[in-house]
Amino acid sequence: MRILGLDGVTFWYPATANPALENVSLDVGPGEIVALVGRGGAGASTLLLIAAGLAPRVTGGRLAGSVSRGARAGIVLPTPWTQVSGMAFTVWDEVAFGAANLGWPAHEITRHVDRALERLEIAALASRDPATLSGGELQRVIIAGILAMDPDLVVLDEPTAELDAEGTRAVWRLVRSLAAEGKAVLLATSDVDALPDVADRIAWLEQGSVRALGEPSLLAEDAMCDAGLGTTVAGLWHAAGLGAPYPLTVVDAVQRWR
């Protein structure tokens, strides 16, 4: 069973000759976390827009291949200030914006919004004006807004870009707990050091194509370290000329030394 399936997907943005994605195939099942890694312009954000059902429906452009999505998807974009509804003067209303748009009964909206606020540890901000929040706080509000809609597929584009270290850890914990509930998570991040503990599978994108797909140990392979996409520990091991397989994390490295 899969929640998202991309089979041979090629996508062109409007008025462009070269595809942003080329022949991409990827499945995401329930309870699974798939992380996309790659250099800027590799096509990760485009793939996420397709997964969320926004490309080509909203962005325009042309898609070849097939996309199957068996459930409702919600996407969090990297810049929180462009994602506020502009229609809410409190954080609670901002988080409730999407849930209200689904036409749910008021008590259902309240239940989901309160839960999302608690999960993002922002219940104390509920009565604040979103315009007065920091970038990190706003990012958590936006994520809460998507979770309040109870999507089966959660799509996250650089979800920790605006967050401090504690906020980043909280989001990764949240991602794991979402997967534990059976939700499928597809994310793109440059925080590769977190991925061994977060992701079930890694997809390495290069120039719009999937160059490699596999377990997080992929982040410790020579090719990824050469491309600067391995974890910091693996990169150090690789640069020092120590023998493969390289450790992924500090904990792995410590165990190896012992």
Binding site: A73, S85, F89, A99, A100, L102, M149
Partner: protein
Amino acid sequence: MSALHPFSLLAIAAALPAFAWILPAPGGGLATTLIAMGLTLTPGASPGSTSAGLTPGWRSGLVTFRTALVIAAPFWLFLRLLHDGPTTVAMGLRITTMVASCVWLVAVLSPDRLVEAMVARGWSLAVAYLFAATLSAVPVLKARARRIVEAQRCRGLSPRGSVANRLRALRALALPLVLSALHEVDERTLALETRGLGMGVRRTPLAAPLDRTAERVARWTLLLLCLTALIRRLA
């Protein structure tokens, strides 16, 4: 005033310019101008005050009053260049009513209450959002323009000094302002889509504003008065 139902605020803001054009000049225009300018002084009427949660008061009302005056002043200048004295007064008062009504409406009407009111009446959310986004764009663009001016100042471009200096500064402000606004439209479209704006499902009103019977009667009365005045004027 901001406690009134959004439709009542819209009705007042629409009725005043209508009366200004229907009633004989200059008396009609003078009366509507005085009312509209008076409204801009009402507590809570300040651009951005509703969204920023500032304490309402006469001081914020003065900002709205001044904004209306600053916007209306050039119209008087151009009218004086093109027309004789009586026509300038007649047209100027009408235009001032329109300007003051719009400025007051933007200041006093909170977009989220408008959306809730429209949705509660069965309007499509996309249409309601179009109205509300127009109103909420003013403080957003103002804040962004302020940031761009500060950034340009850091790079040594002063918006003060000679006319040439000011024109250069204006160009340096306008281009990034327009481009960033267009870029934001793209991202905001994606964000709103994913949050169900285009789903075509009837939105659940979270806190529909109270629409009192007295306000409904007042709105219908305003409409009838406008129609009566129009018929009498045409007769």
